[in-house]
């Protein structure tokens, strides 16, 4: 021990670090009401939004659409209703992905006293089998709104399965690590609100300004393309394009099971995007993924409408690399309506 402490400054460093760890292990569990050892993954609040239950009962739509901003800008619910002769309601949540869709299906649609006949899930490429996509950071707040306190599949698929053994151990036994998001948010809040307050801009004013600035408006065109490409790149990692490995860790089987259990015909609609070039979309890995997805859904008797490489959706119909423009929305809605006619009874 004396030898160790004599090595400048490693011995002192380890001693002081141990003191910090012991102190935080006593203080933080009390501060944040944590029990150890704990189950890995974030704590979910008990509150669950059930707003779609009321809407479904009130409107009784025959078709429900579900997806993210590509659905919001890509499919016109009114036009689809007009084209198919069925009533349509759209649950389009920008920034959502398969985890949120699963939670809405499980905690809203399946629990409603009125069940739609058809559920169209609009997706792109590998998003259906990417359970960790758009659940971390600021997305977590959105997903948590539709989750109950106890969501074992969600925690397992979107968090635990993505952790390495060190992270799992730290999540179980290490208070400083578990409390990091809270501590980090406190530090960030102090930094964020301090200087604007000196100029008379309070918390609300700062939050409004930051929300406005980070909304994406006034973004330099290339920066927007880069930001979208960076955010989407997770979907095109080699491991994400391995369907057979990903599917069992995804929400796809459970979404199909819940839909079948409640006599809802689930239909998956693959929309075209231009975020990655033909190098990725035509790669053997991506083509294999799509073949496997098609076979999987066919085995489950679930229709797949694949517009992912449809030549009718030309470049001029896109607003940006991921969203269709108004004209594109009309074209795409009509394409979906035409294909749906063979499925709708």
């Amino acid at each position: 021990m004396r030898f160790f402490l004599a090595q400048p400054p490693v011995g002192k460093f380890i001693l002081l670090l141990s003191i910090i760890m012991v102190a935080t292990s006593i203080i933080l569990p009390r501060r944040y009401n944590l029990d150890f050892p704990r189950n890995p993954g974030p704590a979910l609040d008990a509150k669950v939004r059930r707003n779609y239950i009321d809407v479904l009962v009130e409107q009784e739509p025959e078709i429900v659409l579900m997806g993210d901003s590509t659905l919001v800008l890509g499919l016109d619910a009114d036009l689809l209703a007009q084209q198919t002769g069925k009533s349509v309601y759209s649950i389009g949540i920008p920034g959502s992905a398969s985890a949120l869709w699963y939670l809405i299906l499980k905690n809203n649609i399946a629990e409603s006293s009125y069940k739609p006949k058809y559920l169209l899930v609009v997706f792109r490429d590998t998003i259906l089998t990417a359970p960790g996509y758009r659940v971390h950071g600021s997305y977590f707040e959105l997903v948590d709104e539709y989750a109950r306190r106890n969501e074992p599949l969600f925690i397992q698929n979107s968090f635990v399965n993505l952790m390495n053994p060190l992270e799992i151990a730290a999540e179980k036994y290490f208070p400083l690590y578990v409390s990091r998001t809270n501590i980090r948010n406190n530090i960030d809040a102090h930094i964020r609100y301090f200087s604007p307050a000196l100029f008379g801009c309070d918390r609300n004013c700062t939050d409004y300004a930051m929300g406005d600035i980070f909304s994406g408006a006034d973004l330099e065109p290339q920066a927007l393309v880069n930001a979208v490409a960076a955010a989407e790149s997770d979907l095109y990692r080699p491991d994400q394009m391995d369907f057979s490995t990903q599917v069992d860790q995804s929400y796809l089987p459970e979404m199909i099971r819940i839909a079948k259990q409640h006599n809802i015909q689930i239909v998956f609609v693959r929309i075209k995007v231009e975020t990655v070039g033909p190098r990725i979309t035509n790669s053997p890995a991506m083509l294999n993924y799509l073949d496997s997805l098609t076979d999987y859904l066919a085995n489950e008797n679930v229709p797949l409408l694949d517009f992912g490489s449809d030549p009718r959706l030309t470049h001029d119909l896109f607003y940006d690399s991921i969203h269709l423009n108004e004209q594109g929305q009309v074209v795409f809605t009509k394409m979906v309506a035409d294909e749906l006619k063979g499925i709708l009874k």
């Binding site: 090595q7 930094i191 973004l219 033909p278």
Partner: protein, 467 residues
Amino acid sequence: MAFTSYVFLLFYLTVFVLYWVVRERRWQNVILLAASYIFYGWLQPWLVVLLGVSTLADFFLARGMNAYPNRKLLFIWISLFVNLGVLAFFKYFGFFREGAIAALQSAGIQADLFLLSILLPAGLSFFTLKKLGYMIDVYRGTLKHSHSLIDFALYVSFFPQIIAGPIERPQKLLPQLEAPRIWQMDYFYRAWPLLVMGLFKKIVIANSIKVIVDRVFGLNDPTGFLLISGALGFTLQILADFSAYTDLARGVALLLGFETSENFNRPYTSLTPTDFWNRWHITLSTWLRDYVFFPVRRALLQSRFRFNESIAMSIPPIVTMFISGLWHGAGWTYVIWGLYYGVLIAAYQLIGIRGEWKPSSKIKIFFAWFIMFMFIVFGWAIFRAPSINWVGNALFHSPFVRAQNDLVLGLIALTMALVYSLPLIIKMLLDQYSKESWLQGAYYAIAVSLILIYINSSSSDFIYVQF
């Protein structure tokens, strides 16, 4: 495979154990070589072929220079042509890609997938300079060529350095590769502060400030105030990010028994541009000094044409820094950034201020530092900007502050830059004025605690990996 990833931790622990268990130098080098190629080819296995073929070419060309001294010139030209050709092809292809595709399409030819998919192999700029330095030194006769293909291949591909340097000179690394290595606790005592500081600077400082910097430099039409605050943020980010990589690379190498070069020596305390480049990315600066600056100056001095002294003094730094800009990337911002420093160095020299210049009074030192720091910040604004027009627009056309939102974003960026620079300033002061190990120990203990708070499994890549 990022240094901050779990995969790298497993990879490194495996290599570390195997390496020190073997104990025999030749086998240690074989293990390191295999590890380096696995590390380099982790995401794109074909990169290993590029690295291997170009290494073989230079190894045999260097041997050729020794075996056929009268053909030395031919061999060095082949090496220069191959190395610079490969670098130019991958690095500057993007510069001409759009034009090439448009030209092909206008001629009725569909651009094929290969043409669309050429990407810069990570680390190419770094290991190309390592190989070129070796080849030029062998050509000049200041270095004996390596007799061992394994040692030479390991010098080129040494995994702690291959992605983003330091650009180690053969005179420093090759003798270490050729010498026996036995584990000493001293390696650990010297490596762990580097590893802690590397992780701290990357995870806590660089990744935190990156969010706001990216937002400012992503704006379509920023104001002058936002440009200044964003540039200050980036000034901190790039130092924290790049010096973190170097610290980690040096720490990882030290644990394997290798002493590698420092890349930074408090660069933002510089008083002159020459001083800055003696302290910033030192291994690149010294490489450019030895293989570009000195030869250009020598050529000018020995030229038949008698150049005006001002021109003779100005051309070498401008050419050198222009090449430095080009080395960083195929974009006008990099080229202008390089030229900006070239002109700055030349201008300082013309008014009699050289690298070692130091004013007599503290007030003058402060002003000299402040002016140079402003030049550095402006340089980073050019470097990080999406285009030169973007900088010009922010400086000359946009108002200084347009709306309250801009003011809020700018203030937050400034506060973040200030808060996150404090740990670096404190460390600098501690290193200078207090070697007292309790204070140093406390600093590292707090740094590790903050790493645990800020750690994120999806941390971003190091900035210099893209070069």
